[in-house]
């Protein structure tokens, strides 16, 4: 354990954690744009610069480990002036589209601009302008809003293990890009979308469908597979417009392409809402009682006539473990055959 003082307050924290971690554990706020506790420290945005007694220049809280006896100051006039300059510089190269931006209300940059009360900009000048749109099916990439925090690059590399994107070029127009500036063609897990602090990355299906302020969040579990990732459905005007996941869940907020982007079926007019029974070559809506009675009747008849081994059961990875357990129990004990299998085996 290490003893430190932050802004005069004495605290004790485990060895080896960063100053930013230490501050967060003690509810001391330090602004950040490029940090995420789930990723390797980056030290790029420079907002978390703090002063450590005895060090010649300010250091980034997100990359500097604590050491015994450190005396830390997280805010003073000079530090706040620098932070303000940084936010002002970012805004000087930003579309400032908040009025019509999907991210408004949920955007770290907007928050910072608000807290630092940045109205006019001393540095107004050239802005990066990109006309080429990325034609991939899932992710809207608006690189004019990108602040180059590098979170998407790191999540794709460190968490997803893919490295589908990286920063390309140098200088003012350095840019996050897939190889050779082609359209994004990756797993489309959307981790990058989930971690982007600005409106630079959005799900294409969500754009224009409702901002965070007007969204009702419904916590549930993804139905696509037995992993059972926790998901949050964002409902606006009685429509699911976006799926996210909280970082404090069993899946740490990470999802796959199906869980994150495969939700359009919910509002599909083709979606089945009742069982259908085929009568005279045509599907006719039926009640569950009718359907289950029919199944029981047919299964019993087959078993009677041909024996239980004439029946086989195949269950789905989309069911939970409990459901799969019950299913094999039903086939083995109820029907009386070992002909039972699961799609995940193929």
């Amino acid at each position: 354990m290490a003893n430190l003082t932050i802004n005069g307050k004495r605290i004790i924290v485990p060895d080896g954690i960063t100053i930013l971690d230490a501050a967060r554990r003690n509810d001391i706020y330090i602004p950040t744009l490029c940090d995420d506790p789930r990723l390797e420290p980056h030290g790029g945005c420079r907002l978390c610069l703090i002063q450590v007694k005895g060090m010649p220049r300010p250091v980034t809280a997100c990359t500097t480990p604590v050491t015994e006896g450190m005396e830390i100051e997280t805010t003073n006039e000079q530090i706040e002036r620098q932070r303000r300059t940084i936010v002002e510089l970012l805004l000087s190269d930003h579309p400032n589209d908040c009025m019509i931006c999907d991210k408004a209300g949920d955007c770290t940059l907007q928050e910072l601009a608000y807290f630092y009360d940045i109205r006019s900009n001393r540095f107004a000048g050239e802005r990066r302008q990109y006309t080429k749109k990325d034609l991939n099916p899932f992710i809207e990439r608006d690189m004019e809003k990108c602040i180059l925090c590098g979170k998407c690059v790191r999540v794709c590399d460190e968490i997803q293990g893919l490295g589908a994107i990286d920063v390309a070029g140098r200088g003012f127009t350095a840019k996050v890009s897939p190889a050779f500036e082609k359209d994004l063609n990756c797993e489309f897990c959307g981790q990058c979308v989930s971690i982007c602090p600005t409106g630079a990355l959005m799900g294409k299906q969500s754009v224009g469908k409702g901002r965070q302020k007007d969204v009702k969040e419904v916590e549930t579990v993804c139905t696509y597979c037995g992993c059972g990732c926790n998901v949050t459905l964002h409902v606006s005007r009685n429509e699911v417009v976006r799926v996210t996941s909280r970082p404090d869940t069993i899946n740490e907020g990470w999802l796959c392409v199906k869980g994150r982007f495969g939700y359009s079926f919910i509002n599909s007019p083709d979606r089945l809402t009742t069982p259908l029974i085929k009568k005279d070559g045509k599907f006719v809506p039926a009640s569950w009682d009718e359907a289950l009675d029919l199944i029981a009747e047919k299964l019993s008849a087959i078993k009677e006539k041909h024996g239980p081994d004439a029946i086989g059961g195949l269950s789905s990875a989309r069911c939970t473990n409990e459901e799969n357990y019950l299913f094999q129990k039903f086939i083995r004990a109820g029907i009386g055959t070992n002909n039972v299998d699961h799609c995940a085996r193929y």
């Binding site: 300059t85 190269d93 000048g125």
Partner: protein
């Protein structure tokens, strides 16, 4: 006629660019055809030598006949025949073609350590280096010294890193020897990204074995079995000679397993960089070797704790390492006797700009700047007045003409707001605009910023924009203060040395030439007459003789007027090229 003839042709990149290869082959042919073939072949040795510094006079050729050396300058292939006939055969050097006195003043105030063998050894032949005491230092440390003793000698010599920051080399090595771990790396930084710098390139081209020898000694001192030379691919000649030197050193047992039978294993790999300035920064350099984007990382962890592939790593500059064998051979006190109290030894500079004798120089630390400019450099070109000396490249600052007593050492340079840097030295005269100079360096740092951190990526862009508008006559009240305030924030909040030092050229020019900034902003005037948008040319009627010379040279057709009557420049058409100004014999054209 049994003469001992040796011809040395300068084959640094400068020499080659000036036609060194053709000069050399013409010499070969000419010597072969003078009839006394057998004698010539037997006694004549022909060397390619590395850069000898006086690049402005290339191709330089030494002709040594029976021990008497004459140096020729500006030699072209068609001059070779006469040299061979009159000098080699006839015994009479051609006076008009020999180097002039200033060639000797150029060398007199210099003290050569790192460059002592450049121009003397054949960089493509290990025996030539061995013949001048090469690899003696490796033998000495391996047979008579422990690693700690080796570090102690370097410590006593006072050697500090020549890559820019001037960090004491022995302190660095000491940290590495104490760093735990099974594997360590030693990297030689030959990235040399400063615009206009060619010190390290010349050392690698001129004497690659000294760099390799320094690396072997460093590897022995810190216990690193693996070494890298990180060198930019734009240095093809240096790369080629380095590869050749490594191959030769391996063949002679100076590299590889069990070096000289003393149990030391050390191998060197060459890694080519793609020419990004930021890749000279240690953590970016390491990322680049690892195959990642060359982008700096926050320190700690420092490379000596967690460097290449996660192992303790020491990075040293080419010149730092090339000093090491000489220090070991001649002793720490010999080295420490040169220089000032805190800056020992010598420093190589690339002297460029408006100076008469441009080229590569090596001077003792602590030499006053004026001796470099006037004695070695021969003063300012075209009889103009010195305005300032810029040192440290894009990370450095300007030292104004009235401060030429400033000495060249780490402390004195930083006191006047500049830095030693890696050795760039640009001489500016009265026709240089200081706002424009700052703009030039900012253009460089802005385009080389890796973009990782905001103050550098956007901050340098805004600094550049403000400087640009000032030079375009669009400067606003408050711009100087805005520059100062933004520069201060970029300096303190950027991640790596690039961003932290990028504002230096702005701050140092404001410090000494604030009036020049003010003239641009408030009077819309460029005192040096450089910024085109603030210039206009007009004809003074009372002096104009109507000779029509200006009308004929004006490429834009902006000058009208009848013969023998005063002419007139139409401002809307004038492109401000200054051709008329240069041409008028009657000083009738006003620039302002």
């Amino acid at each position: 006629m049994n003469k001992d003839v040796s011809i040395k042709v300068c084959m640094g990149t400068g020499g080659i660019a000036a036609g060194g290869v053709e000069v050399m082959s013409t010499f070969e042919k000419a010597l072969a055809s003078v009839g006394i073939k057998a004698v010539v072949q037997k006694n004549c040795s022909m060397h390619k030598v590395g850069c000898r510094g006086f690049c402005a006079r290339d191709v330089l050729v030494d002709v040594i006949v029976d021990g008497a050396k004459s140096t020729y300058q500006y030699i072209k292939p068609d001059m070779v025949e006469r040299i061979v006939q009159e000098h080699v055969v006839g015994g009479a050097p051609i006076g008009d073609w020999l180097v002039t006195d200033d060639y000797h003043t150029f060398h007199d105030k210099q003290v050569k350590v790192v460059l002592s063998d450049c121009g003397e050894v054949d960089p493509e032949d290990i025996d030539s280096y061995l013949g001048r005491g090469g690899y003696e230092a490796v033998k000495k440390v391996l047979t008579t010294m422990t690693p700690q003793e080796t570090i102690d000698v370097i410590k006593a010599s006072g050697l500090r890193g020549r890559g820019g920051a001037g960090f004491p080399t022995a302190v660095k090595w000491d940290m590495a020897i104490k760093a735990p771990g099974p594997k360590k790396y030693l990297i030689c930084n030959a990235d040399e990204g400063d615009p206009g710098a060619f010190m390290d390139r010349s050392v690698v081209e001129g004497n690659p074995h000294a760099v390799i020898e320094g690396m072997i000694i460093g590897a022995y001192a810190i216990g690193a079995p693996y070494g890298y030379v990180y060198i930019r691919a734009e240095y093809p000649l240096a790369v080629e000679r380095l590869h050749l030197a490594i191959k030769q050193a391996k063949e002679r047992g100076y590299l590889g397993k069990n070096i000289l039978g003393k149990g030391l294993d050390f191998m060197i790999k060459v890694k080519l960089g793609a020419g990004a300035f930021v890749c000279g920064e240690e953590t970016a350099l390491i990322a680049s070797i690892e195959g990642k984007r060359g982008q700096p990382k926050a320190k700690p962890p420092f490379p000596v704790q967690k460097g290449l592939w996660g192992y303790p790593t020491i990075i040293n500059n080419v010149e730092t390492l090339a000093n090491v064998p000489y220090i070991i051979r001649k002793g720490a006190s010999w080295y420490a006797a040169m220089g000032t109290e805190k800056s020992k030894g010598t420093k190589v500079f690339a002297l460029t700009g408006k100076i008469l004798n441009s080229g590569l120089i090596e001077v003792p630390m602590g030499i006053p700047l004026k001796e470099v400019i006037y004695d070695i450099g021969g003063g300012i070109e075209n009889g103009k007045k010195l305005k300032a000396v810029q040192t440290g490249g894009p990370s450095g600052g300007c030292i104004p003409a009235n401060m030429m007593d400033t000495t060249l050492d780490y402390e004195a340079l930083s006191k006047v707001g500049s830095i030693m840097g890696s050795g760039g030295m640009v001489v500016l005269d009265e026709t240089d605009c200081m706002v424009n100079v700052a703009k030039y360096f900012l253009q460089f740092t802005q385009s080389e910023s890796c973009g990782k951190c905001i103050p550098c990526r956007v901050g340098t862009k805004r600094l550049l924009e403000i400087l640009t508008r000032i030079t375009e006559g669009k400067g606003r009240e408050g711009d100087i203060e805005l520059l100062e305030s933004l520069a201060a924030d970029v300096k303190t909040s950027s991640l790596c040395g690039l961003g932290q030092s990028a504002p230096n050229p702005v701050l140092s020019t404001i410090r000494y030439y604030r009036d020049e900034y003010e003239a641009h902003i408030y009077e819309k005037r460029c005192p040096a007459g450089v910024c085109k948008d603030l210039l206009s040319y007009s004809i003074l009627e009372e002096f104009c003789k109507g000779c029509t010379a200006c009308t004929r040279v004006c490429p834009a057709g902006a000058i009208i007027g009848e013969k023998k009557k005063p002419h007139k420049i139409i401002q809307d058409i004038c492109i401000k090229c200054g051709a008329c100004f240069e041409t008028c014999k009657f000083k009738a054209i006003k620039k302002g």
